[in-house]
Symmetry: C2
Amino acid sequence: NMQVIAIANQKGGVGKTTTAINLGTALAAAGERCLIIDIDPQGNASTSLGVERATREVTTYDILMNDGAVANAIIETDIPNLHIVPSVTELAAVEAEIFGENDRHTRMQRAMETLKRHIADGSAHSYRYIFMDCPPSLSLLTVNAMVAADSVLIPLQCEFLALEGLTQIMQTYNTVKSNMNPALAIQGVLLTMYDGRNNLSKQVVDDVREHFGDAVYETVIPRNVKLSEAPSHGKPALIYDPKCAGSQAYLQLAGEMLRRSKFV
Amino acid sequence: NMQVIAIANQKGGVGKTTTAINLGTALAAAGERCLIIDIDPQGNASTSLGVERATREVTTYDILMNDGAVANAIIETDIPNLHIVPSVTELAAVEAEIFGENDRHTRMQRAMETLKRHIADGSAHSYRYIFMDCPPSLSLLTVNAMVAADSVLIPLQCEFLALEGLTQIMQTYNTVKSNMNPALAIQGVLLTMYDGRNNLSKQVVDDVREHFGDAVYETVIPRNVKLSEAPSHGKPALIYDPKCAGSQAYLQLAGEMLRRSKFV
Ligand SMILES: Nc1ncnc2c1ncn2[C@@H]1O[C@H](COP(=O)(O)OP(=O)(O)OP(=O)(O)O)[C@@H](O)[C@H]1O
Ligand SMILES: Nc1ncnc2c1ncn2[C@@H]1O[C@H](COP(=O)(O)OP(=O)(O)OP(=O)(O)O)[C@@H](O)[C@H]1O
Ligand SMILES: [Mg+2]
Ligand SMILES: [Mg+2]
């Protein structure tokens, strides 16, 4: 019953990493075993969970480049039930290195299949959710995540320019679904950095709910400075400041996700 | 005396597009002829200046793919002295299409040389500043901009995760400078979305000034909702709301840029 979810949006700074970390932590706190795979060369998810750069030995780079097993790259975090596969900046070179290969789109998919075999034979842990934190682009790394995933979670900042980008991510989703991964579904569209004092935020929320209906989570993540402070302490906001509005919103989102199945 | 400036940072959502639009407009208001080249497939700079997607015929795609002349892609905006070369989502395909070509890094550089020839023979306008709005990645599009540029302007959001990315953009800068464009310099590091009420912002500013000294502009762009509202009206903030804190900051930045030469 493992769900693999790609957290993707080519628009930068919309809350992909913040969602991977805090939703993962909230679900882990609810007792679900979660794994975050950092597939962004920036490595922000790894940093946000306190994984020092110097200690990142087996990473997503090895999985995509050297057919490394996910099970060998998994490390525990300070949070029970939450593990991570870290990334390094060298991951940015993967795009050029595997560009000419026939399997350039399916390397992460193959790695997920191997992980499922390792789970079945008892040599690896099982997980309820696997989240892939994607870079702000629609290139090979993000496509690899979408081909390997069961569904895509699209964080959307409540800003005009982010709204414009929704068409592009939906185009990539449809291309991957029709050509490479027919089972791919939309897990949901998550509205982030909502600021109730500003009309623009409200307009974006209305627009998105009108266009995407039930695919949009009821939970809206407010703009909350604690969410941006937490990574500097190497902790999720849920550990850094569990009572803040940001943490509460991600706990609510976890509850909503557990209640609803994949949106098809 | 034309200066070509790449506005780049692989961290997403740090204010690259907002800086290209509003700094360009402020310099144009000061009487300097400016051109913005949108080299981001998202096309946010084009949208922010009111260029409807349906009207984008000759674009950055043609320059990079079909050796098209910049002079043929230039269109006027509603702002005197400010022109733009728009982009379209197809630009994302360029990376794959030119990947194997020997000149994959130097296509924009060649296009700039052709533009300079066209300016010299009177068939194209001259410009004081050309700004290239880069996508949130360090791939071929951003490298093309950095190889073609005289200098790089690095917008840096006053947030912890953005600070982490500074090392990566500096590595790419050094690689391009030592291998492809020895004349490349740092135009400056611009601190953006500063929120005086929050300690994190102050810490980031102190850290960056300590590390980068004079390369950091004195002007700091405050977080200001008018800057994010303006693109939905297809106008720069300087036209949408000239008195707001965001517009004033970009006017101050333009003044600072005119006073200081390229930081070497
Ligand atoms: N709800 C929120 N309120 C306030 N700040 C937030 C919120 N969500 C994220 N942030 C901050 O905004 C910045 C961008 O968020 P984040 O890095 O998670 O986005 P991203 O989509 O992963 O970015 P990238 O495109 O670079 O991968 C970060 O500094 C983060 O700490
Ligand atoms: N100083 C500011 N205050 C408030 N909002 C801002 C400010 N600067 C930019 N914004 C808004 O923040 C969002 C991100 O800014 P922008 O799109 O310019 O960043 P970017 O670096 O170009 O993003 P990308 O990495 O996706 O290209 C936009 O919605 C923009 O309107
Ligand atoms: Mg991220
Ligand atoms: Mg941009």
